[in-house]
C-alpha cells in the first residue's frame, strides 16, 4: 500500500532535511511510536502502537535509515516490526524528499506500507485510511515541530486519537453540584443521582436553555 503525502514547512530546506535525519525527531512525531534503543549506524529499535477503536496492534522492530543524500535531500527509512501478540507484521519503506519552495521547504513523503496477518485480513478497507491518517499526522507534527521549535505537543498514541476534539468540548460538572468536582478523589457525586435527573428530563430542559442562550 503506497501512501503519498506532501506538506510545506516554513523553514529552510536543509534545516528541514537535517531535522528529518534525526530518528528521535521522526519517532517523536510518528503517532504511537517510541524509540527504545539506538543500535548505531542509523539503526534503532522501536515500537509502534496502532489503535483503531477496539482494534490494537503493537509492533516491535527495527528502523534503519538506509539511504541518505544530503545534497539531493533524499532519505529512505526502512522499518520492520512484528506484532507483540503474534498477529502479524508491519513493514514500511518511507522515502523523504525535501525541496526548497519559496521561502520554505516542501517535503514529499512516500510510504510503502505492508501489513500482514490479522489486521490485513480484516481491514475492510480501513487500513488504508488508517495508514493515510498516520502519515498525515506525522506530517503535521513534523511541520508543527519545526515551525514552533521544541517539543511536539503530547499526543496519545492512538491513530484517530480523540483528545484534540474532546478537549474542545468542555466537560460540565454535574449540574446540581455547586462546587467544582474533585477529580482526584472518588466521583464527586453519585452519577446515579445525575442520571435520574437526566432521565427526568432535567438535562433536556437545561440543554434547551443553553441553546436558547447561545442563539440569543
Amino acid at each position: 500500500m503506497l501512501i503519498e503525502n506532501s506538506f510545506d514547512v516554513a523553514a529552510d530546506a536543509d534545516e528541514v532535511f537535517a531535522f528529518l535525519q534525526d530518528a528521535h525527531n521522526v519517532a517523536a512525531c510518528f503517532p504511537g511510536a517510541e524509540l527504545v534503543e539506538d543500535l548505531g549506524a542509523d539503526a534503532y529499535r522501536g515500537k509502534v502502537k496502532i489503535k483503531v477503536g477496539p482494534v490494537t496492534a503493537a509492533y516491535q522492530g527495527v528502523a534503519k535509515i538506509v539511504e541518505k543524500d544530503a545534497t539531493a535531500r533524499v532519505a529512505v527509512l526502512e522499518a520492520d516490526g512484528k506484532d507483540t501478540r503474534g498477529a502479524g507484521t508491519a513493514k514500511a519503506k518511507a522515502t523523504m524528499r525535501v525541496t526548497p519552495a519559496g521561502e520554505g521547504a516542501h517535503v514529499a513523503l512516500e510510504t510503502d506500507l505492508t501489513i500482514s496477518g490479522k489486521l490485513a485480513q480484516f481491514g475492510r478497507g480501513i487500513m488504508s485510511d488508517v495508514s493515510g491518517r498516520m502519515v498525515g499526522e506525522l506530517a503535521s507534527r513534523v511541520r508543527q515541530r519545526i515551525e514552533n521549535g521544541g517539543e511536539p505537543p503530547v499526543v496519545p498514541v492512538a491513530a484517530g486519537t480523540a483528545s484534540g476534539t474532546a478537549t474542545a468540548t468542555a466537560i460540565r460538572p454535574v449540574p446540581t453540584a455547586a462546587a467544582a468536582p474533585q477529580f482526584t478523589e472518588a466521583p464527586p457525586m453519585k452519577a446515579s443521582v445525575l442520571i435520574r435527573i437526566v432521565l427526568a428530563g432535567y438535562l433536556e430542559r437545561w440543554a434547551e436553555r443553553l441553546r436558547k442562550s447561545t442563539e440569543a
Binding site: G86, A87, Q121
Partner: protein
C-alpha cells in the same frame, strides 16, 4: 417427476423422507466436535502470516510456560512426519514441490501451518499461539497467475526458474488452421475468481492411541476416509489395519475441500500417539478461510471461429490456472480442459492450460471442479456469436448442439479419468427447449424489447453444460445379516449430508426384496470395510449404487438359499414377507431373518452346519465403471439490472437437469437446488480476494458473502432422464450440476440486459460495482470513439 425405468423397483425412484433427519433436527447429530472424548486435549495451529517467508528462528519457551499448555511442536520438532502429501492427480511432466504437513524451513502461503500447540482447552491453546516467537525472512510473493507468468517476476518457490507447474494440452482437429480459415472469428479474455467450499462445519480431526492394541483411532471430517488412511499409513509407516479412520456419522458439508488431504490430518494423530492422549483439532472459520483449499481462479483467452450461420468451426483456449502454493492434484485443470467443448459440435479444438504456482492456499476441487470456468467461457462465446451475427442466442445453441441420436458421442479429446471423452447418453436439445419453454423465452424477449423503451434493462441468459461424473476407479459395499437378524449395508463412502443412510437403504431394499425397515446403512469407517475411494466428483451413486445393488442381490440369494434348506424346499419357492422367508407366501412355513442368522452366522458351538448351508451371511461387491458417465443440464435466467446501482434482480430461473435415473427424487432436487445456490454465490458474490502481497483480504463472512435465502431466487426445476448405459442402475451424478452453469447463465443475462449500453461482462462473479464500472467504461469508450 418422471418415474425411474429401473425394472421391478419398489423403492428406487421413490421420494423418501430421510432417515438421518430425526437426529439432526433434535440436536443429536454426531459431528466430530460433538463426540464424547472427555480427556481430549485441544490443538491450535500457528500459521504463516506471510505469503512467502523463510523461518529464521522459532521460540516457544513462553508458550510452553503457560499453565494448561501440554506441548508445542514446530515442523522441525516432528521431522519423522515431514513427508510430502502427494498430489491426488499426477502428471508425468508435473514439476512437483513437496507439500509438507508443517514445513520446517520455508512457508508458501498465508495460513500454512508451522507449529501446533496442545493445551487443556482451545482457549488456552490460542493464548499460547500469541506467545510463540518466530522470526521470518519475508520473500517476494506471487499473488496471481498474471504475476506468475511474468518471466522476470517473483517465484512462488525460492530458486525456481518458472512458476508453471505443468502445461496440459488437449486438441482435436487443427484449431489454428481452422481459425485462420474461418469466416468469423471472435476472441475475448475471461477471468473466473477463486471461491471456497464453505461447508458450514469446518474441518476437524481427533485421534486417540490405544497402547493395548497398537491401534490409533482417528476421527476425521473427511470426504475420503480410505484415501486419508492410505496416506497416513505411508507417512507413519504403519500397517493400514493399525489405523482406524472414521468419518463421523455426521459431517457438516464437504463440497470438495474435505476430499483433499491436509497437514493437520497428519499432525494431530501423530501428536496423539506421541503424547498418549486424545487430541482434538476443530478448525475455526478464520483458519478455514485461509487454509481450506479453494478453486476456480482461471484466466481464459479464447478464440472461436464460426460460419455465417453461427456454427462452430474451431475453438482455441489458452488458460492460466491458479494452482496455489503446491499441487494438491491436477484434477481441476484437467477437467477444465475437457469441459470446454461442452454439449456442442466442435470440429477443431485446442486447449492449452498452464497450471501456475502462486503463494496462495493450494487449489483443488470445489463443487463443480474445473467445469464452471470452462462452461463460463464457452457459453459467453455462444452469446457473442449470436450478437455478432444478429442471431438469437438460443438459436445459435440449437444449431451447435449434439443431437439425441448421436450417443455415444466421442468428442475427440481425453477426460480426466484416462479414457477418451465419450458422452454416454443425453438429450441436450430437449434440455434447452424445455428450459426455454419454462422461462417463457419468446415472451421474455418481447418484454425485454418493450421495457428497453422505458429505460429498463431486462436480460435473458442461457447456459448448457455436460458434466463428467461417476468416476472410477471403484467403490464398494458389504451386506451382512447381523446376529440380530437385521441387514447391515456398509459403504466405504462417507456422506456429508447427501442422505446415504436413506438412498442406499432404498437400493438395498430393492436388491433384497425386503422392507427398508430391516436395513441399516453404515458409512465411512475403515475398520468396517477395507477398500474405498471417497465422495467426490459426483461419483457415489454411479459407483456405490451398483455395488450395493449387486451385494444386496447376492445376499437375497444367500438368504433364500439358506431358508430353502431349512424349509426343505427350492429357493425359487421362497420369498420374504416382512422379515420372514416364507414358502409360497405361507407364514406358517417360514424362517425369520434372525433364525437365518442363528443358523448360518451364530451357529451351534462345535456342531456341524445343516447340510448345504453356507456359513457367514455376508456379501460384498465392488463396482468399477468402464469410464465416466456424463450428466447434463440447461439453465435459463431472466434478470433485471439497475444500471445506476448495478443491482441484479433475478426475476425467474429455470433449471433443466439430466442425471439419468433418479433414486430419490427429493434428494436429487435437493442436490441440484443446493448446487444452484452455490452457483449463484460464484456468479454474483463470492470472492476470496488476495492483495498483491498474497494476503487474504476477505477472510471472514463480513467480507466474503455467502448467499442467504434472500439472494437465492425461486427456481423452476425439471428433469429428463437418459439412463447411463455404463452402470446397471442407469444413474449419473447430481451433486454439481446446479453449480456448474449458473455463473455463465447470470453473466450472459447481465450482458444481455446491458447490451444497449455496450457494457461487457468478462469476469465471474459479476458484482454491482463491476457492472456500474463496466457501464462507465463503455460510455468512455463510446465517447473516445466518437471523438476519433
Amino acid at each position: 417427476m418422471t418415474e425411474t425405468v429401473v425394472p421391478d423397483a419398489a423403492m428406487i425412484g421413490r421420494r423418501m423422507e430421510r432417515r438421518e433427519d430425526e437426529r439432526l433436527l433434535t440436536g443429536h447429530g454426531a459431528y466430530l466436535d460433538d463426540l464424547d472424548l472427555p480427556d481430549a486435549l485441544a490443538a491450535a495451529f500457528l500459521r504463516s502470516p506471510h505469503a512467502h517467508a523463510k523461518i529464521l528462528s522459532f521460540d516457544a519457551t513462553e508458550a510452553l510456560a503457560l499453565p494448561g499448555v501440554v506441548a508445542v511442536y514446530s515442523g522441525a520438532d516432528l521431522p519423522e512426519i515431514q513427508k510430502p502429501l502427494a498430489p491426488k492427480v499426477q502428471h508425468p511432466q508435473l514439476r512437483d514441490y513437496p507439500r509438507l504437513p508443517m514445513p520446517p524451513e520455508e512457508l508458501h502461503y498465508v495460513g500454512e501451518p508451522l507449529a501446533v500447540v496442545i493445551a487443556e482447552s482451545r482457549y488456552l491453546a490460542e493464548d499460547a499461539l500469541e506467545l510463540i516467537e518466530v522470526d521470518y525472512e519475508v520473500l517476494p510473493a506471487v499473488s496471481s497467475t498474471a504475476v506468475a507468468v511474468q518471466e522476470a517476476g517473483p517465484k512462488a518457490h525460492s530458486g525456481d526458474e518458472t512458476n508453471v507447474a505443468v502445461v496440459l494440452s488437449q486438441s482435436a482437429g487443427d484449431a489454428a488452421k481452422a481459425l485462420a480459415g474461418a469466416p468469423n472469428v471472435l476472441s475475448d479474455e475471461f477471468f473466473v475468481m477463486r471461491g471456497g467450499g464453505h461447508s458450514m462445519e469446518p474441518r476437524a480431526v481427533a485421534a486417540r492411541f490405544e497402547p493395548a492394541t497398537g491401534q490409533v483411532t482417528i476421527w476425521d471430517g473427511t470426504q475420503a476416509p480410505h484415501y486419508a488412511r492410505q496416506q497416513l499409513s505411508v507417512i507413519y509407516e504403519m500397517a493400514e489395519d493399525d489405523i482406524r479412520l472414521i468419518a463421523p456419522r455426521d459431517v457438516g458439508g464437504g463440497f470438495g475441500p474435505k476430499a483433499q488431504f491436509y497437514g493437520e490430518e497428519v499432525v494431530i494423530p501423530w501428536v496423539a500417539m506421541k503424547l498418549g492422549r486424545a487430541v482434538k483439532w476443530i478448525e475455526d472459520r478464520q483458519e478455514n478461510f485461509i487454509t481450506a483449499m479453494m478453486e476456480r481462479s482461471q484466466t481464459h483467452r479464447v478464440e472461436v471461429g464460426f460460419d455465417d450461420d453461427g456454427r462452430l468451426i474451431a475453438v482455441r483456449d489458452f488458460v492460466e490456472h491458479d494452482q496455489g502454493a503446491y499441487c494438491a492434484g491436477l484434477q481441476v485443470p484437467s477437467i477444465t480442459t475437457s469441459t470446454v467443448p461442452g454439449p456442442y459440435h466442435v470440429p477443431n479444438i485446442a486447449v492449452e492450460l498452464k497450471a501456475c504456482y502462486t503463494n496462495m492456499v493450494p487449489t483443488s476441487s470445489v463443487r463443480g471442479a474445473g467445469r464452471p470456468q470452462a462452461v463460463f467461457v464457452m457459453e459467453r462465446m455462444m452469446d457473442r456469436i449470436a450478437e455478432h451475427l444478429g442471431l438469437d442466442p438460443a438459436e445459435v445453441r440449437r444449431r451447435n448442439l449434439i443431437q439425441a441420436d448421436e450417443f455415444p458421442y466421442k468428442v475427440g479429446i481425453m477426460f480426466r479419468d484416462g479414457s477418451p471423452l465419450t458422452y454416454d447418453s443425453g438429450d441436450f436439445p430437449a434440455l434447452l427447449e424445455g428450459t426455454l419453454e419454462r422461462i417463457g423465452y419468446d415472451e421474455a424477449r418481447e418484454l425485454q424489447a418493450k421495457l428497453r423503451g422505458e429505460g429498463r434493462y431486462l436480460g435473458i441468459g442461457l447456459s448448457v453444460y455436460v458434466e463428467g461424473c461417476g468416476l472410477g476407479p471403484y467403490e464398494g459395499a458389504k451386506v451382512r445379516l447381523t446376529n440380530k437378524g437385521r441387514i447391515l449395508v456398509t459403504l466405504a463412502a462417507a456422506g456429508q449430508g447427501q442422505g446415504y443412510e436413506t438412498v442406499y437403504a432404498q437400493i438395498a431394499a430393492d436388491g433384497l426384496g425386503l422392507d427398508m425397515e430391516h436395513i441399516e446403512v453404515k458409512t465411512g469407517d475403515t475398520s468396517r470395510i477395507p477398500f474405498g475411494q471417497g465422495t467426490f466428483a459426483s461419483r457415489i451413486t454411479a459407483t456405490c449404487g451398483p455395488a450395493v445393488m449387486d451385494a444386496a442381490k447376492q445376499m437375497r440369494q444367500r438368504l433364500l438359499d439358506t431358508a430353502a434348506i431349512l424349509l426343505g424346499c427350492d429357493a425359487s419357492e421362497v420369498d420374504f414377507v416382512g422379515d420372514k422367508a416364507c414358502l409360497g407366501g405361507n407364514l406358517e412355513k417360514s424362517v425369520s431373518l434372525q433364525q437365518l442368522a442363528q443358523t448360518a452366522n451364530i451357529g451351534k458351538h462345535g456342531i456341524t452346519l445343516p447340510r448345504g448351508i453356507k456359513a457367514g451371511l455376508e456379501t460384498s461387491s465392488y463396482f468399477s465403471p468402464e469410464r465416466a458417465a456424463y450428466a447434463s443440464g440447461a439453465h435459463a435466467a431472466l434478470v433485471e439490472v439497475d444500471p445506476e446501482t448495478g443491482e441484479i434482480k433475478i426475476l425467474k430461473y429455470v433449471i433443466g437437469h439430466d442425471c439419468g435415473n433418479v433414486i430419490n427424487p427429493m434428494l436429487v432436487d435437493g442436490q441440484v437446488l443446493g448446487g444452484f445456490a452455490h452457483g449463484i454465490g460464484n456468479a454474483m458474490y463470492e470472492e476470496p480476494v488476495y492483495d498483491v502481497e498474497g494476503q487474504p483480504q476477505a477472510a471472514s463472512y463480513l467480507d466474503y458473502a455467502l448467499v442467504s435465502a434472500t439472494e437465492v431466487p425461486p427456481v423452476e426445476l425439471f428433469h429428463i432422464q437418459t439412463p447411463s448405459p455404463l452402470n446397471p442402475l442407469g444413474v449419473k451424478g447430481a451433486g454439481e450440476g446446479g453449480t456448474i452453469p449458473a455463473p455463465a447463465a447470470i453473466a450472459n443475462a447481465v450482458e444481455d440486459a446491458l447490451r444497449p449500453l455496450k457494457a461487457r461482462v468478462t469476469r465471474a462473479p459479476v458484482t454491482p460495482a463491476r457492472i456500474v464500472d463496466a457501464i462507465a467504461a463503455a460510455e468512455t469508450a463510446a465517447e473516445t470513439a466518437g471523438q476519433n
